[in-house]
């Protein structure tokens, strides 16, 4: 993929960051407005595809560290699992911080939501990592076709067929 014109890259520089902010907003308010971890995470993950389209494949490959996204995914999944386990004396996924730990509501209108918003954040991290990796890997396989490269050091099936 070739980079687009300077107009596109400038607009991208300006607005791509707002996507992350908006995604974070959607993640954080998932417990009382429409949205949540998955939706916000998907918004944040569009950042990478924005970058890819505007700056082209070469700089995209130079920026992206796959390990970071893998770690985000791992972190989100583990956090989600641990929040699920918090409800354990009662049952799996029981929202115990909200009910049995006896927290007071933040205001008259918005009840204390317990693990729900924390789980939103966890799912948000997971989705950011996973969808970014999806974009990275799909671009990688397109690149593989364009350049005619092999599977990149993968020990695949072919060499064992007789």
């Amino acid at each position: 993929m070739r980079p687009l014109s300077v107009i596109v890259t400038s607009v991208c520089d300006l607005f791509a960051w707002f996507m992350i902010v908006f995604g974070a907003y959607v993640i954080n308010n998932g417990h009382n407005t429409p949205g949540g971890g998955f939706q916000g995470g998907a918004i944040v993950a569009t950042f990478l595809s924005f970058m890819l389209v505007a700056y082209g494949g070469k700089r995209f490959r130079a920026w992206v560290r796959e390990g970071v996204y893998g770690f985000l995914e791992f972190l989100g999944l583990m956090a989600f699992f641990i929040f699920g386990c918090l409800g354990f004396p009662n049952s799996f996924f029981y929202n115990s911080p909200a009910i049995s730990w006896g927290q007071k509501p933040l205001s008259e209108w918005i009840p204390y939501c317990g693990t729900i918003s924390l789980m939103n954040v966890a799912v948000g991290f997971e989705v950011i990592g996973a969808l970014s990796l999806v974009i990275v890997y799909m671009y990688g396989s397109i690149q593989m076709i364009d350049t005619g490269a092999g599977m990149g050091g993968e020990r695949g099936h072919d060499r064992y067929d007789r």
């Binding site: 009382n32 949540g36 998955f38 799909m138």
Partner: protein, 126 residues
């Protein structure tokens, strides 16, 4: 819970949406069954998923219903049903995962076979 359950509206506007769902499902099945291009088949699958999600949201609709969050609903007594919305959210996530996986497979198939035509992708026979 029971007082929120009102019969679905039987007026024209209520049924038109179901007709639209049926139309979308038929369009999607048509594209899956008749198209030869893998990408178009993927589009058909995506449309099918969306129409099913639409159907689920429609099931939960109650005429004049507000949002099903009790401290944001205000004075409204009727709410739309929250369960179909949860189902839809789950189905959307699943549809996204399958679409991404399917497109990745299409990329790899194109690499190996050099074509997107389903008639030419036939090594598994008999």
């Amino acid at each position: 819970m029971t007082d929120t359950i009102v019969d679905t509206p039987s007026d024209f506007a209520g049924n038109a949406a179901y007709v639209l769902v049926a139309f979308l499902v038929i369009m999607a099945l048509y594209s899956i069954l008749t198209q030869k291009n893998l990408i178009k088949i993927c589009i058909g699958i995506a449309v099918l998923g969306s129409s099913v999600n639409f159907f689920l949201v429609l099931l939960g609709y109650r005429q004049g219903g507000g949002i099903p969050v009790y401290y944001l609903a205000g004075a409204k007594k009727t709410m739309v049903l929250p369960t179909p919305q949860c189902l839809t959210l789950t189905a959307i996530v699943i549809a996204l995962a399958t679409t991404a996986l399917m497109l990745s497979l299409v990329i790899l198939i194109h690499k190996h076979y050099g074509t997107l035509n389903v008639d030419e992708i036939r090594r598994l026979r008999g």
